[in-house]
Symmetry: C2
Subunit: 220 residues, 2 copies
Amino acid sequence: MNYSISEENHLKAIFHLQADSNLVTTNALALELNTSAASVTDMLKKLKQKKLLHYQPYRGFKLSVEGRKVALDIVRRHRLWEYFLSEKLKFTWDEVHELAEELEHINNKKLTDRLDEYLGHPKFDPHGDPIPDSFGKMTASLLVDLTKVTENKFVEVCNVGNQSPEILDLLKHNKIHIGTRLEVKRIFPFDHSMEIKVKSFPAITISEQLAENIYVKILK
Amino acid sequence: MNYSISEENHLKAIFHLQADSNLVTTNALALELNTSAASVTDMLKKLKQKKLLHYQPYRGFKLSVEGRKVALDIVRRHRLWEYFLSEKLKFTWDEVHELAEELEHINNKKLTDRLDEYLGHPKFDPHGDPIPDSFGKMTASLLVDLTKVTENKFVEVCNVGNQSPEILDLLKHNKIHIGTRLEVKRIFPFDHSMEIKVKSFPAITISEQLAENIYVKILK
DNA sequence: AAATATTTTTAGATTTGTCTAAATTTTTAT
DNA sequence: ATAAAAATTTAGACAAATCTAAAAATATTT
C-alpha cells in the first residue's frame, strides 16, 4: 500500500512519540507536526479507517501492528538516506536530517533494499540511531545519555536529544560534535553538573540539562 | 524559488516537447502528462503568472528564459539520479526512469551539486542523454537514430526513442539492449528496412519504424 | 460534586490540483 | 466565406489537507 506524505509524517511522528512517552495525545502530535489539533483529528480518523491505528474519539490512539510496520519502514528509509548523505555525499550530521525528510517518502522496496546493500547494511545512522532492517528489526541503541556515565569514563558523542539552534550553539561553543571523544572527569552532586575534557582542551563544566541531551557510546 | 511537483512536471514536459517540435499544444501536453486539457489550461495560467512561460489564451505558449532554467534544473536532477541508480545501485536502464521521476523533485542545490561531484560530473545519463551542469549547460548529444547510419558502420546502442512495453518487447526479442554493439550491414531502399548484426548472432532485419527509435553512438 | 480549565472534536471555509461538460475560439473543409 | 470540426478555455464540482472558531467531552480544582 502507498500512503501520502502527510499520512507518512503522521505515522512516523506517532511512532517516535510513542517510543518515548507511550501516551501520545492529539495536542502533542499537532505540536510535533507544526499543525493544528483539528487537522490531527482529521488524520486520525483517516488512519483509523485504513487500519493503521486504534482510535476512539476522546479516548486516545496508538499504532496498530500494521501502522507500526509502515512507520518502521519510513524510519528505515530516513536513516538509510541519512547514512548515504553523510557517508557518501559528505554532508555534516546537522544537514542530513532535513534532506532525509524528503527522501524518506520515496517508497520503493527495491530502491530501499539496493541502497541498504550499497551502503553495506549499516546498523546505525550518523546520529547513532539504529536502522531497521527490511523486516523492521533493529539493533537496540548502544547509546546512553551523559548523565548515566560515571567518572573517569571515555565516551564518544553519537547523538543529541534535540536539535534546537540553542543546543547546537552551546555544543559548538564547547567544541562538542558528533564523533567527539571526551572524558568524564567529575560529577558534582550538588547540581549534577559535570566536568568533562575534550581532547587536549582545558576541562570544562556542563550543566545537567545539557548532559541529558548528549547521547554517547561508552568506549572500552 | 520552489515549485510544486505538478508545476515541475508541467515545466519539464513543456521543455521536452519544445525540444522536439517547437510547437507545443495544450492537447499534446495533456496527453504527455496523462491529464485533461482543462487542467493544463489551469496550470498554464498559473505558470504564466509566475513568469515561467509566455502564454496568450488560444494563441499558444512557450517557456520563458526563467522557465527554461527551472526545467533544465529538473532535467539535471533527473539525469543525475538516473546515473546514480544505474551506476551505483545497479538498476537496469529501464528501471531508472520511474524512480528518477520521484527523486528529481527534491530541489536542494547542495544535494544536487554534491551528488554530481560524487558521481564524477557525468556528462550523459544511462540512456545517453546529456546531463546539464549547474549552469544549465549541456554537451550536445552524440547520438543519432539508426536510420542516419550508413552501411558497414559499427555503432553502440545508447537510447531508445520511446519506452513503451511494445518496443521494449521487440528489442528484447532482437537481443538489443543499451550498450549493445552492432553493425549496420545493408539498408534496403524499398522500405528502408535494415540488416544488422549483433555480436556473433546471425544477421537480422529490422523495420524503419524500429530503427527510428534506436539511438546510437557511432564507433570509431 | 460543581465549576472551571483543558483537550479534543465538529462545523464550515480555503487552497491546490484535478475532473466533466459546456462555451468559445481557431482551424479546416467544402 | 461559411459550415463543420478540432482545439482550447471557462464554469462548476470534487477530494485532500489544511485552517479557525465553536461545541462537546474529559480532567482538574476547590
